[in-house]
Point group: C2
Chain length 321, copies 2
């Protein structure tokens, strides 16, 4: 018999699930497309059916300890998804209750960045850390913050919106309706915007001049930078500087031992890490200088479902420790 937690990672395109044991091994995994159904309950019905049949068809007998869900705008306190910008279902979605009704085990939900932080703590590079944060760099910028050994949820569960700290007064327009939010500079989308700003500013040749905005992605910019493209190189320097400055400020609030960078953009490696580290150290208050580790996430390809499953294993750890 194998005891597992089901980790569910809800993305705008696909919903990925996995059965993860307490050591972080993936016993079963699978996925369904997220947004084919008009009705949210039908989507949950489909998802649970697929998970159940995967478990029934497994080689080993499986016991489900609980279900952890990472979802955009997922609230730990209420067990709901609220007004997620990139999901078709609007309003308040009582996902924890719906899943619990079907599987009759504890169900916990949080947003993707909090799940990533828990995953890092239970299975990744933050195993012995009580105070750290994970910055997720995707289409936007998310953050999961652990303090005193626990996720910082905040009032009503909505803490950790570091992507929406305003870093430039009257800066770039943000999808949240305000201007100058960190994620308009530091994210895959932010990188594209910076490329276009620099292409407008400079005269020199760049491979990026041949790519329309809507086709450009951060990976292309990293590839161009690795070939020595000056606009691409300056883009990463600028992106890193903006992130490093923001991290030096948030360090004055939460004083983390380490900051992990996670997600597609973090795969650019030194191109991103070097300017982030430089700007962060230059701007840190003396109390924190040379103390904060800037690290790549230590979770692999299954990070999303491992982080979601960590919601369950984290509570188990506490109960039995």
């Amino acid at each position: 018999m194998t005891e597992i937690a089901i980790g569910i990672d809800i993305g705008g395109t696909n919903t990925v699930f996995g059965c993860i044991d307490s050591l972080g091994n993936t016993v079963i995994e699978g996925s369904i497309p997220t947004q084919t159904k008009d009705n949210f309950e039908e989507y949950i019905d489909d998802l649970i059916s697929v998970i159940k049949s995967s478990i029934e068809n497994a080689d080993t007998e499986i016991t489900i300890t609980g279900v952890g869900i990472g979802a955009p705008n997922g609230s730990y306190r209420t067990g709901t998804i609220e007004n997620a910008a990139n999901l078709r279902w609007k309003g308040t979605l009582p996902i924890a209750q719906l899943v619990q009704n079907k599987l009759n085990v504890p169900v916990k939900i949080t947003n993707d960045a909090n799940a990533a932080a828990l995953g890092e703590r239970i299975f990744g590079g933050a195993k012995n850390m009580s105070d750290f944060m994970v910055i997720t760099l995707g289409t936007g910028l998310g953050s999961g913050i652990v303090v005193n050994g626990d996720l910082l949820y905040g009032f009503e569960g909505f803490a950790g919106e570091l992507g929406h700290v305003i870093v430039r007064s009257e800066g770039r327009e943000c999808a949240c309706g305000r201007k100058g939010c960190l994620e308009t500079y530091v994210s895959a989308t932010g990188v594209k915007r910076t490329v276009y700003k620099l292409l407008a500013k400079h005269l020199g040749d760049s491979a990026l001049r041949d790519i329309p905005f809507n086709n450009l992605n951060a990976k292309m910019v990293a590839e161009a930078a690795n070939k020595g493209d000056l606009v691409a190189l300056e883009t990463f320097k600028y992106t890193g500087k903006m992130l490093g400055e923001a991290l030096s400020n948030v360090a004055s609030v939460t004083a983390p031992e380490a900051i992990f960078l996670f997600g597609g953009l973090a795969k650019a490696g030194d191109l991103l890490f070097d300017p982030v580290r430089k700007a962060m150290e230059e701007n840190l208050l003396f109390l924190y200088k040379d103390k904060i580790k800037l690290l790549p996430s230590n979770l692999g390809e299954n990070a999303g479902i491992m982080g979601a499953a960590a919601l369950i294993w984290n509570d188990e750890t506490k109960t039995y420790s």
Copy 2:
């Protein structure tokens, strides 16, 4: 027999102490000047002697549960004061150990802002709140942040330096050696600097034109504002705007239920609170709009020693709850 915690509030000028019972009543209080001795241990000797004789001379028999100390740069994790800018003794001062050797009860230390936050939680306006922060407005700006019901100490105990979040790139010079820190704008000193900036900018009459920089204090500016002095009024608007913008950003990190303003500058009342609230609400991410209470501290004149004593009563509460 009365069971009390000793609260000690170490300021640059005076060290105030009090014996506080678990309901927040002050049974005994007293003070000594802080910086008359070259040697830190002699200062502690004097302080403990005065406290002991106060207790021996009391009308009632007193049992000491523990000692809580609020001090500049006090570290909860190490029990030391480290390089406090406005104390004459430099380096690392092992104050918790020194006091414990003399009184043989548990001794806890934290910085003044953390103590204020704990005081607010145990005895003040945050009794039922798990997520809030206290902003202390004095010569500088301090912050004590409570999340998940506990003080946010951070790695090595130095979280909550909100006064040193950089809010203006290349802004005002700060005593920390950097530029543009929040406390260079929002503090008693920041208010003075803003008055002088505005006196330079404007031509109109102002009562403040007759006061040299070194004689000016925030109370005079508040008095001038209450008489309709335009420079003084604009000073409070500017100060409040800078604080409100900063609070809207930190809200995206910690998502507090309430923010308490504490200290001399907070006594300016609506002069300060109105522009803070306006700027905060205008800049908040939609998730937090109209949800965060901005409140004056609910602790009275003894706030410093009550906050320090709360370090002890907080742990007692946890043990017996």
